[in-house]
Amino acid sequence: MTDTSLSPALQALVSNSIVLLLIVGGVLGGRAIRKNDIWRGACSGLFARRRLSVIVVGLYVLVALADSISWVGGSAAGEDQVAAHEARSLIDRAFAGTKEKSYSAPFSKTEFYDKSPLRHPKKHWFGTDVLGLDVVYVTLKGAKVALLIGGLTSLITIPLALFFGMTAGYFGGKIDDAVFLLVSILASMPGILLLIVLIMVMGRSTLSVCIALGITSWVGFCRLSRGEAMKLRELDYVAAARALGASHTKILMRHILPNLMHLVVITFVLLFSSLVLAEATLAWLGIGVDGSWGQMIAAAKDELSRDPIVWWNIAPAGAALFFLLLAVNLVGDALRDVLDPRTLGERT
């Protein structure tokens, strides 16, 4: 995750400003939601249905934020002197000095490998990985990576896809042809292969993985919103709006877009989970983002063939990935129910 071209102090500054920006954005967004009846109703409906999932997603966000608040300095415990000059986050500091030399066993059991027992310092819940890093620590660090990949990429791709899909479906004709051509060319290349090739071209880094994921992921929703807009523009109320002299922009914003919002929500969820999953897949092939759970799983999979099975390196990463995506998917389902314009009248 750390970009080596930035100085540690600058890294910390950038990271902290993003946290600040997110908090300010969250507060402002919260206020806006409180003022709007529909969104406030949707939020309370969401809490009523999926309290646990919302809390779980919130926890992941908190961990990611805690991993982003960082500063340089402070004493680095243990023999790790290099760390003293780097920007270290709250989580780095909480786990300072827990590094072992290599693998060690988890807290729960003591005996492994009858002849040469595995080191067991009795302070790592899930043992340590091959580099001697505490597995819990590495897993917590993965939260930021996952949210960055899923959140950032889908926040950029969804508006893009919606814009192109909606205008193409609504206007039809030449615009539709042009968008269809662009989408067809991009979409016609098989996703995972295009991803791999794009990353081969751009080189392996967090940014290039995000760009490659962005390029390959917006097309599906573009097609979906295009199909839906094609259906919506034939409906009577659109014809009525047009007869009343409403401009195309107004029809798109007032009559087409609101009817696509539930699809946006479903897609945000599907996209978020599919992006995080796609990154895990890339990591499995050896071209993922450093520090992601996919990379942990890929690194630890060979340990499974040992006897007794070394499960504690792969299980926390798999579980962290699974529970994040499960919670996000469940939240999205609930959001879909509460945001659907057709069910709004029934509830209130």
């Binding site: 060319i185 098989p190 097609r223 799983i297 879909r336």
Partner: protein, 315 residues
């Protein structure tokens, strides 16, 4: 209708042409040279130059593309850098294994998805639907290769119910063997796909059930079965069809990992080998043929749009 199909088929040619340029250019931009891949990194400059000349790499870039295109049009994608055999023949050999995996996966996916989607749309407040919702969310939250690892350890290594390495057994030679060898990887992919399709089946059905004409049909006393088959299912077909068709290319290319994990000798395996060996001819052919498949899928989706929903007038 007919003119629409003809128009789409005519559009297909420029799309394929532009896609072929994009495919060719992207792979051209990949660092590393096919000539180096052929003769090895420690070859003499003369050997490298000879290989470049033989592959046509000394010619101007547009000419190289045209050369490749003229070959591709007649199915000649060049020779594999791994063993020198023609690419197309090698890919053709691997298609049945992938096709069989894709077929089984789609069947498992649909068998799981359709009942789940229909139940959760018809009884949105039942306990069963809550379980189904968690299943859908879970199906999309587990990486397929992770399911693969669990299934291999649980069912193949520990219990020997299924073979841990899935050889390709053609369905028409030995149906039982084909089922045993394909079941585990197809289940991994099928579970994932069922999550996607079930979500859209139920979303689409619920949308339709909330429509006024369904209320009208109920009000005039039509039976639930008649409403379901005549009004609801038909009108829900558009998103469902889109999802199924959109899942087909995923079935082919997304099985790449599973094929590697389960040792299935399909297109995914050959692609994986090509990536690792910098075998540009095979990679290019694979992406290009994938594009061809996807474009055909898109045309099919659009045609099915108009068939199931006459409201979409595509003039």
């Amino acid at each position: 209708m007919v003119s629409y199909i003809v128009r789409r088929l005519l559009q297909f040619i420029p799309v394929l042409f532009l896609a072929s340029i994009a495919v060719w250019a992207i792979i051209y931009a990949v660092p590393g040279s096919p000539a180096t891949a052929l003769v090895g990194t420690d070859a003499t400059p003369e050997a490298l130059a000879a290989a470049e000349q033989r592959l046509g790499l000394d010619k101007p870039v547009p000419l190289q593309y045209l050369q490749w295109l003229s070959g591709a049009v007649v199915g000649d994608f060049g020779d594999s850098a791994i063993n020198g055999a023609p690419v197309l023949g090698q890919l053709a050999e691997r298609i049945p294994a992938s096709l069989q995996l894709a077929f089984f996966s789609l069947m498992i996916g649909l068998l799981l998805a359709l009942p789940l989607g229909i139940v959760s749309a018809l009884q949105p407040r039942s306990v069963l639907t809550k379980v189904i919702n968690v299943y859908q969310a879970a199906a999309l939250a587990i990486p397929t290769f992770w399911v693969g690892i669990l299934l291999i350890i649980g069912l193949a290594v520990k219990r020997n119910v299924f073979p841990s390495v899935s050889n390709f057994v053609p369905l028409w030679v030995d149906p039982v063997g084909a089922f045993r060898h394909t079941f585990l990887p197809a289940l991994c992919l099928g579970i994932y796909i069922s999550g996607i399709i079930a979500r859209f089946v139920s979303a689409s059905l619920k949308d339709t059930l909330a429509q006024d004409y369904v209320r009208t049909a109920r009000a005039k006393g039509a039976g639930e079965m008649a409403i379901m088959s005549r009004h609801v299912l038909r009108n829900s077909l558009v998103p469902i069809l889109t999802q199924v068709v959109m899942a087909i290319p995923f079935l082919f290319t997304g099985s790449l990992l599973l094929e590697a994990g389960f040792g299935i000798p399909g297109l995914g395996a050959v692609t994986f080998e090509a990536i690792q060996a910098n075998d540009f001819s095979t990679l290019r052919a694979m992406v290009f043929l994938g594009s061809l498949l996807f474009i055909l899928g898109q045309i099919l989706t659009d045609i099915s749009y108009t068939l199931v929903d006459p409201r979409i007038r595509l003039q």
